[in-house]
Symmetry: C2
Subunit: 466 residues, 2 copies
């Protein structure tokens, strides 16, 4: 576990004292004695600072320098007599507990907690990250929420790492959102970040106002805010607090859209609210990992509640009932086309009853055509047997095109449908949603190219890589 | 072909005159008569400008405004008497022809032309883009090259759209590069952009100095510059000229690395030279579509030949012989893991003799573990049967990790190898290269995690999405 190792100096001292990670130790610095459990170095922490879990529950980093002494604690139990620091921290905790009494005058929102880093903590022994089972725990750490909202209900249908979720989880979330949205000012969903953008896309198709049709442009009447964290809440660098504060401001705002609210930059200065169908996790670990693709973020939200609208294509809050349409056919798949890629995977999927495939092509939406392993026959066969073949681009940014090059025109002629500037993940989920409603290939094609939930933009804009 | 349509006003006028795309017409504006073939509107051109192919071979855009007259040409043949504009253009062409005589005092480079947009032109009738068969054609358009280099040899092993290339093409290119590199100052490869970054990665593994080993850090002794174009050379917005000019400066520079040289911004101000193993096409159509991932570009190159080194991890030019090691096993594949993804594809690939699979996981390198369609068993079976399973991230930016979360540790215990900050495409090609040299799983694992050609960086840095 190289990343979590302390500096040579600290390791030498620990070895000398026979101290191991997870043991109770005392650190003496400037006459202050701190006692607690020795944690591994934080993933992003300073190699030369000892991290202690104090009895108050708080972690503290102590710079290891001349004059600092490390020793085994005399007892394995927390001391009875508290240090000055602990008394100070105790006072802060009391103040926090106070704040748990919600202010009844604040707008009521519902929170759906599903798991993920935002609801996780570091295990002191292994350095790994584990789920916390009580979603209240992260609220307890953010007293500021009390000044913004009243969380009237926390629904916790399951606790899952988001990489383990699938359409059944999206359905449970969608059902709960529709239910709660009709009884509150807005809904916040806490969720793991890995597939947060898949869930936001699924909700964007499954949820709509009662008066709207499944195959036409649809929307919700109140804010639906999905939020996660890239660093767990017991880490100093956690993004949990600001993400939840900004999400709370959004949940009671007039922006009646479904989107993801996460850090907008690496600093703790603002969050972006990014449309659920135009967003993607673009970094394994940065706090600003979620980026809008091919359009501007809906809004920029500061810690203090200021909201700046960046995209005029938004809906206003109304009181219309929202319904969850859970018809979904999960016999869908994504395949990537690249040099040497195996077109027979299409045949295998069809043999296994798959009814629609999104091919993530290269550039403007290409697959190998005049190549040794040409995709031509397999795509032709798929289209002729009524399987929908959609084409997106693995460049992520930009828009596919069925005209510009000869190979594109061939692909289009075979029956494959180039899906404008839709993200691969969004096209995949939209396809499952459409297949849940119709089996008619012409209808599937037409709805795939209809802009139902702002998944297609007329003109791609927004940020790019600097 | 909506994108290529003229404005309503022009269409109305054309209809009135009974003129169709591809016909010979006359446009009269300010007493100047221009005659030529009517082209469709350029992809990025002004809707309200008529595009004519003049008899000189040049395209001209004429703003359609009050006083402009369009009519059918009287003859279907080029006129004998030239207009003033045509005479002017003829003079320019003569000057161009002059420049085709290379300056013998300039450093000698070889050019390998493989096809792609950089060697393509718009078909006047359909508006589609076709290959030009003579690679000299693009040089003919860029007289500036004469002041930089002497192209001693143009090798044209094939003309392919890059989406149709595979490992056999990489081998042909690698062989030619090694051959030419030993007889020149540097090599330029013109190539389609869709899979340019696959080829640059393949060359980075296949080429090395004669004294170096296949399974250790290796390098080349002179510059190997891959270049493409996002817009064909007969378009006003073409990036061909600047990309080739900057590539020429690089080919004679002291930077003995393999990389891609393309526009660094949307303007015609500079190019970036980006390492062949740390680069990806990130936009379907922007001229600055190629971006460095997880490290800084090697250098910034201006039109005037100024080169600014941005990354100190480069090699100096030497005279050591470069060899092409073409051992490659193409029974390799990329699979994407996502909610609802089909783990049985692994079994199918193994049944079809695939010997290595790169799984593009979510976030820090996850696949569904505690999910209905868990990947656990299939990965376990693959690893136990000696098939290499590598894990990268579909976030593209960042680094996978085998420790932080429980699911990561499970995946790692099954035998899957998390591949640091390697790009999926690069990991795929590196795997084929390694499998071409050894069948021993432990050796494969160890070389996959060895930094052979700067495909792994110790600390990910560089640009991100703004």
């Amino acid at each position: 576990m190289q990343e979590l190792e302390y500096s040579k100096e600290i390791k030498k001292e620990l070895l000398k004292e026979g101290i191991k990670i997870g043991e109770r130790i005392r650190v003496i610095k400037n006459k202050i004695i701190l006692e607690g459990i020795l944690l591994p170095k934080g993933e992003f922490g300073d190699k030369n600072s000892i991290v202690l879990k104090l009895d108050s529950g708080y972690n503290i980093g102590i710079k290891y320098e001349n004059g600092v002494k490390i020793e085994k604690a005399k007892t394995s139990e927390p001391k009875k007599i508290k240090t000055e620091t602990e008394i100070e921290l105790g006072k802060i905790k009391e103040k926090f507990l106070e704040s748990l009494k919600w202010d009844e005058t604040k707008p009521k929102i519902s929170l759906i907690a599903t798991g993920g880093t935002i609801a996780s903590r570091v295990d002191y022994k292994t350095g790994g990250v584990y789920m916390i089972m009580k979603p209240e725990e992260f609220l307890y750490n953010i007293p500021e929420l009390r000044n913004i909202i009243k969380i009237q209900r926390i629904i916790n249908p399951f606790n899952k790492a988001s990489e383990d979720m699938d359409v059944n989880d999206w359905k449970i979330i969608a059902k709960n959102v529709a239910n709660e949205l009709n009884k509150s000012e807005g809904v916040i969903i806490t969720h793991g970040t890995d597939t947060l953008h898949f869930t936001s896309a699924a909700l964007s198709f499954m949820l709509r106002k009662k008066s709207e049709n499944w195959d036409e442009k649809h929307s919700v009447s109140k804010p639906v805010v999905l939020v996660g964290a890239q660093r767990s809440s017991d880490r100093g660098s956690s993004d949990t607090a600001m993400n939840l504060i900004c999400s709370s401001y959004l949940a009671i705002s007039d922006i009646a859209n479904i989107g993801i609210c996460m850090h907008g930059s690496e600093s703790d200065d603002f969050c972006y609210f990014i449309r659920g169908t135009k967003v993607r996790k673009m970094h394994t670990s940065r706090r600003d990992a979620f980026k809008p693709i091919n359009e501007f973020p809906i809004a920029k939200i500061w810690n203090n509640g200021k909201i700046e609208i960046l995209n005029k294509n938004i809906n206003k809050r109304t009181n219309e009932k929202v319904i969850a349409d859970l018809k979904f056919n999960d016999k869908i798949a994504i395949l990537k086309a690249y040099p040497g890629s195996e077109p027979k995977l299409i045949k295998f999927l069809i043999k296994n009853d798959y009814q629609g495939i999104i091919i993530e092509g290269t550039g403007l939406g290409h697959v190998p055509i005049f190549a040794k392993k040409s995709w031509t026959n397999e795509i032709k066969n798929a289209c002729e047997s009524g399987v929908f073949i959609g084409i997106t681009s693995q460049t992520i940014f930009g828009r596919v095109n069925k005209y510009v090059y000869r190979n594109l025109r061939i692909l289009s002629k075979l029956g494959a449908v180039h899906l404008e500037d839709m993200l691969t993940e969004v096209a995949y989920i939209k396809l499952g949603y459409i297949l849940g409603h119709t089996k008619k290939l012409e209808k599937i094609k037409s709805v795939m190219l209809t802009n139902i939930s702002n998944e297609i933009t007329e003109r791609s804009v927004g940020g790019f890589i600097e």
